[in-house]
């Protein structure tokens, strides 16, 4: 196996990991969204639930866009 081929294989693995992270973050964001909806409907739920869900979801979104940028840069570079 040539060094170039080996490098491409490694990059491919990294890219698959990045996409797996992205999908995981999206699923977590979906769960946070449903949790915030539950908190909105329940007057007894602490106010911090919705705010914490928002903060984590925002961090997840930033991570998704960062991973996508890394993904596309790595792919176009390889």
């Amino acid at each position: 196996m040539s060094p170039q081929r080996r490098l491409r294989d490694r990059i491919s693995v990294v890219l698959h990991m990045a996409m797996t992270f992205v999908i995981t973050i999206l699923l977590a964001q979906l769960w946070l969204f449903t949790a915030s909806l539950e908190a909105m409907e329940d007057p007894d739920a602490p106010l911090g639930v919705g705010l914490a869900a928002l903060a984590v979801s925002l961090a997840g979104c930033a991570a998704v866009w960062w991973l996508i940028r890394v993904f596309l840069r790595t792919e176009s570079g390889s």
């Binding site: 973050i25 964001q29 915030s36 908190a39 909105m40 007057p43 106010l47 979104c61 792919e75």
Partner: protein, 176 residues
């Protein structure tokens, strides 16, 4: 460098079709992945906006509850033990029910079922609040769900009796 199929077909680089179809066959898979990842990113952004709206609405509801003034809904003598009275609070679009469970025991709830917002009614014999739409049953003393599809209790109101008058207010709001 050998010409690809498209270049052989056109015979020149500045062809009009190149402006209409700028993506070459070799770049197509990259462009497709770029579009797909953009879709994932926009989905993530949409989740953030959805969560933002839910959190904002949650804050707004609490602020609105705190700003509603208590209201006198009945005289104690108007409601017999085991009877109920319907009223609206805090706005005319919010139907509520006041229950007299004992000589000095009162409870008040928003009348909308927590399942699909059908109005609940008081079953005086069973001592429960019933939803006729999907057979939801709630405890009359605290509004917690006892049977049927509702998973969340009824929204309870704070009840105060002063000088023979029954006052209701939001539980999160300031009392007088």
């Amino acid at each position: 460098m050998p010409l690809d199929h498209n270049e052989r077909q056109s015979g020149r680089d500045g062809a009009r079709w190149r402006q209409d179809f700028p993506i070459q066959s070799g770049e197509a898979s990259y462009a497709a992945r770029r579009e797909f990842t953009k879709f994932l990113g926009l989905t993530s952004t949409a989740f953030v906006f959805g969560t933002l709206i839910a959190a904002g609405r949650s804050i707004w509801k609490r602020w609105a509850a705190a700003s509603h003034a208590p209201r006198a809904v009945a005289r104690v003598a108007e409601v017999d033990v085991g009877a109920y009275k319907l009223f609206r609070y805090p706005t005319d679009g919010d139907p509520c029910i006041l229950l007299r469970l004992g000589p000095s025991a009162f409870a008040a709830f928003n009348q909308n079922c927590s399942h699909l917002a059908c109005p609940v009614h008081f079953d005086t014999e069973a001592g429960h609040l019933l939803c006729p739409c999907h057979a939801g049953v709630f405890d009359a003393s605290d509004g917690r769900p006892l049977a049927g599809p509702p998973r969340r209790g009824l929204d309870a109101l704070r009840v105060d009796v002063r000088n023979g008058t029954i006052w209701v207010s939001d539980p999160g709001g300031a009392s007088t």
